[in-house]
Amino acid sequence: VKRLVLGLLLLSLALAGGLSYLASETPDGLEKSLARHDVAEGESVVAAPMADYQSPWGGQWLAGVSGTLAVFGLTLVVGWGLARKKGAS
């Protein structure tokens, strides 16, 4: 399974870093519905460092790559944290 995990991680990085440039720019289903019903998008409560997937240092690919790694890392920490406790008790 190790090779599969590595392969999938590389694939994900490629998707987020490269192919996301091909992503459709048309508004998504929610945005379109909100616009049709004149619902204004609210103000964001937190200021995200890379809002709308634009990173201040390198554009979209860097945002995609760092986000992919952030999710990978966070999920591993959560998973290992929970799985380990079982072994300890």
């Binding site: 399974v1 190790k2 599969l4 995990v5 999938l8 991680l9 994900s12 990085l13 998707l15 987020a16 996301s20 992503a23 459709s24 048309t26 508004p27 998504d28 289903g29 929610l30 945005e31 379109k32 519905s33 909100l34 049709r36 019903h37 619902v39 998008e41 609210g42 103000e43 964001s44 409560v45 937190v46 200021a47 995200a48 460092p49 890379m50 809002a51 709308d52 997937y53 945002a63 995609g64 760092s66 986000g67 992919t68 790694l69 952030a70 999710v71 990978f72 890392g73 966070l74 999920t75 591993l76 959560v78 998973g79 290992w80 929970l82 799985a83 380990r84 406790k85 079982k86 072994g87």
Partner: protein, 209 residues
């Protein structure tokens, strides 16, 4: 379907946050009971994959677009509890780093785009396919994708109506109509991905609880 901050009224998003927090707690307890360490890398990489896939909007007829949600994909490979936690991680990173989905509406977003698929979608797959691994399973996966994407969109529309922003009928009609098409995309991508992964590693689906 990522709802931004400020769209839902406080009672609606607080209720959603509480409900989602409870569900995440139950899932965490279940994962703690059952998850073996050897499955953790798969959890991590599927989270990364779902995040990456959600960045890629595919065009939908009618001047709009949609992207994979991935909840059913996660649940088929990881089981409902682990899949729900992975979805939570994905949405948390999207809200905190990318302002994709508001932080106050994290709970409602997790319910609409995550839990409906990882819990409800799982029930649909089980109900339609049992433990079959053949074409019935893939058909069930497709149905689960479509139903949960549309249901999530309708639920989001319902929450917008509850918050007093739009009349119920029309908002359900637009949300449901657009996402009936997006749901087909979700189903096709999910079935193709599961088929590809199972072909590469047939043992992957074993030990999913």
């Amino acid at each position: 379907v990522h709802l931004p901050d400020g769209i839902l009224s406080p009672p609606v998003w607080i209720a959603g946050d509480l409900l989602a927090a409870g569900a995440v707690g139950v899932c965490a307890a279940r994962v703690k009971d059952r998850l073996t360490e050897s499955r953790v890398p798969l959890m991590g990489v599927m989270g990364a994959f779902v995040f990456a896939a959600q960045m890629i909007n595919f065009p939908v007829p009618g001047g709009t677009s949609g992207h994979l949600l991935g909840g059913v994909l996660l649940v088929v490979l990881l089981g409902p509890a682990a899949a729900s936690l992975v979805m939570f991680c994905v949405l948390l990173v999207q809200a905190l780093l990318f302002q994709d989905g508001g932080i106050t509406v994290l709970g409602p977003n997790l319910i609409n785009m995550g839990l409906l698929a990882t819990l409800g979608g799982w029930a649909i797959v089980r109900l339609l396919a049992g433990r079959s691994n053949g074409w019935r399973r893939y058909l069930a996966i497709f149905v689960a994708c479509w139903v949960t994407v549309v249901a999530g969109a309708l639920l989001a529309g319902f929450e917008i109506w509850l918050s007093g922003h739009a009349p119920l009928g029309p908002v359900l009609l637009t949300m449901g109509g657009v996402h009936a098409l997006i749901g087909i995309g979700e189903g096709l991508i999910t079935v193709a991905t599961v088929r590809f992964l199972v072909a590469a590693r047939p043992e992957l689906l074993e030990g999913v609880s």
